[in-house]
Assembly symmetry: C2
Homo-oligomer: 456 residues x 2
């Protein structure tokens, strides 16, 4: 069977907290910042952030909402892609997880729903956040919507100004969407005034750092409001482990097990969600195989391969506590790419430690022009019928590159069977402009394995 | 349980052909047109068109492709919406079918995959079609892609010129997308030349009729090419019955049965696919209840309520055979609406006969400004987390309107329990502009039952 559906009654009932198996993490730094976090953050999420409990139960009501957004999601054996890549039949097996089925277009909704649920339980009425490309803002608005909270999204103006469809999408969810800097906050008004004095208009382009500051100021001002973060933190990765736990069960259903687990990585929340339940098995000595965990990154932000393992801020504006991470530096400028969710200066503390100390993670950074990854993403689409988000093209490409390399090794008799699992973290339905720009005249025809230039 | 998942092994293995239960249909007219259809059409589809076999088996290979695009699709009990509408708990139950999960955004892909499959079996290499709004072109390109055929889409230039994302989407599937009229066909060249002589440019806006002519000319010229139609015909509705058959099984799983079945109707393919398996039970005297079938239409094209039951062409350009249908006239001009898939002059012969002779179908035509239906579509989204396509908003609205009316009747003690089932035929991810235009300042907030002006 190609499509492996896990039934609802086999859904994971807990999140998996890898802190319990990896000996904890270095403490965050920054006393004031940590105290402030206690004021604007969701209490249950902060408790989870430092928990060493291995399994944290998913509340029943939240479980119902996960079902409503069609969790569990299918794992699919990519037999059509295997054939198109001319892999030896059944000897190199590819499986992909369909997080593209998320209602907002990315895996982000797994944590957004959880955070909104806990905020509502704590009596909050408003959920505030910032967004850059718009994926996190959409996911949080969705989480708020299904938990009867009012979402407010501060959106970096330079993106807000042109992404009209994403704006409408958030507004349909009842979100107040504000171009940042806005006149709603002190810091926003100050920046707009300065800009106006210099430029004679109010079109300050904004930045993620400014949007975070505005969001936090808003949440601190109103005790019914709370601020929400979409990546990097432990509890965020933990919420995402529904992905990997489902995948684990689905592999049991077909009596198989991965040799490779591949996904794209910016801050690390989809990658973490996918691999951590398996990494836990490795750490506890329960894994069936010596799995290779491979992160597909962009040369624009190769934090895992080029980053230093040290304390750094999670944000450009230095508002968050400092965390020990593999980081390129929180104010480093990084070339914009279509897979903008991968353009983040540091990897989550959990991922960073697994890479730097446990040596459990391999990484590839793909060229900034993105032709290589988009071409492979389209080849995946043309065979499997699933259109990846720009970021998810990195997963598909990395899986294809590994499959082709393994094919050579198999032909040399180096092994009998290998299994690759990869995560399609989001859909590309709202990414058409990126596809058109990157692929240009390669659009409008079928991509075959002979068209692919080899990278590995 | 809210989400009713049918397992793959319970998928329908046949399409249901209602012709067997409704005593056939009046013969099509137009000898030449019928002969031409035999040349450019898919042979197996033409055989199915006139079949009186009750169940036509779905080939195993095609079944695998249906699974790949995640058939069966869930039926969902809309408990959250029921609560938001303040319906008496458990007494008025709403269920919706999730055709929005289609990979191209609409139910159209159910027949596109079937037609492409048969074309490939008949040794064809190229699948040609026309498209107006772009949904059918996308679906057919997708069907071709997964059956290793090359799709060619003639797209009415006035739409082609601005729907860049849909164009990219089709091209990603390997489709050659041509603005129509094009210089590829005799009729196209002739029209372009005339236009150029008059206007000094090549920007002929095109029409669906012209695009059909170009497609058919192309298919007739090349014996490896075949032309494909996306609605109205019997075999198209039959392919869509996977929707209703799954729904029937899903109702069995929860031991329930609909009193109302509601969906939007333009030509009738999603409506037919949804209701025909139940209409068959009614015709055979096997139905558990006296189901009301309700078609939600636009006042722009109220073919069921205002149409005459007579022979008419299926297309503006008079190329197709004439069929007996409820029709507004094949050259009637109809006001453009956002739910453009509903703007068609006639209802499919099967639906027309069920309405005109069997008196089995009720209908509502909604105002052309679409505020009423979009508002209800958004209320559905805000509670259930599923964003309908513009057309599917008519389904959601009609279900909500009926639920509110039933609520009054229930309060007056007129009945104990009623069940409404409706079909969400597509997703709205590519319809944001329509939402923004229709709803304007109603965006950015929650819509409650108190906001709804009553229509029924």
């Amino acid at each position: 069977m190609t499509v492996i559906n896990l039934s609802i009654d086999k859904s994971p009932r807990s999140w998996y907290n890898i802190l319990s198996d990896m000996g904890g993490l270095p403490e965050p730094k920054g006393k004031e910042a940590i105290e402030r976090l206690g004021q604007y953050g969701i209490k249950e999420c902060l408790r989870q952030e430092f928990s060493d409990q291995r399994y944290v139960p998913i509340p029943d009501e939240l479980q119902k909402i996960y079902e409503q957004v069609l969790r569990p999601r299918p794992l699919v054996r990519a037999e059509r892609l295997e054939k198109a890549l001319h892999l030896p039949e059944g000897k190199i097996r590819l499986y992909y997880k369909r997080e593209d089925l998320s209602p907002t277009g990315s895996h982000k909704v797994n944590t957004a729903l959880a955070q909104a649920y806990f905020a509502a339980k704590e009596g909050k009425e408003k959920l505030v956040t910032e967004t850059g490309a718009g994926q996190w803002g959409s996911a949080l608005a969705f989480g708020a919507m299904l938990n009867n909270l009012d979402p407010t999204v501060f959106w970096v103006r330079s993106v807000y100004n042109w992404k009209n469809d994403r704006k409408t999408f958030m507004q349909l969810m009842g979100a107040e969407v504000l171009a940042s800097p806005s006149d709603r906050t002190e810091i926003g008004r100050k920046l707009l005034k300065e800009w106006n004095e210099k430029n004679g208009n109010a079109n300050h382009p904004g930045s993620l750092g400014i949007a975070i500051s505005e969001g936090i100021e808003t949440a601190l001002k109103d005790e019914k409001s709370v601020y929400s973060l979409g990546s990097v933190l432990n509890h965020v990765l933990m919420h995402q482990t529904v992905i990997g736990q489902e995948t684990r069960e689905q592999f049991r259903m077909v009596d198989d097990y991965p040799d490779y687990m591949i996904s794209c990585l910016g801050g690390g929340s989809n990658f973490g969600g996918f691999i951590l339940p398996f990494a836990g098995e490795v750490l506890r000595g329960e894994a069936e195989k010596d799995i290779k965990f491979v992160a597909a990154q962009s040369q624009s932000a190769p934090n895992l391969s080029m980053g230093e393992y040290r304390y750094d801020f999670a944000d450009h504006g230095e508002i968050t506590p400092q965390l020990k991470m593999l980081t390129l530096g929180h104010q480093t400028s990084m070339t914009p790419i279509k897979g903008d969710g991968l353009r983040y200066h540091a990897a989550a503390p959990i991922i960073s430690k697994l890479k730097a100390e446990h040596k459990m993670i391999e990484t590839i950074a793909y060229p900034i022009d993105e032709k290589h990854v988009f071409e492979r993403g389209v080849m995946f689409f043309q065979n499997e019928g699933v259109l990846p988000a720009s970021e998810s093209n990195y997963s598909a490409a990395c899986a294809i590159d590994h499959a082709l390399k393994l094919k050579e090794e198999w032909e040399q008799g180096k092994f009998d069977e290998k299994v690759i699992a990869f995560n399609i973290s989001g859909h590309g339905t709202l990414d058409m402009m990126g596809y058109a720009e990157v692929l240009g005249n390669k659009l409008g025809r079928r991509i075959s394995v002979d068209d692919l230039e080899r990278l590995l």
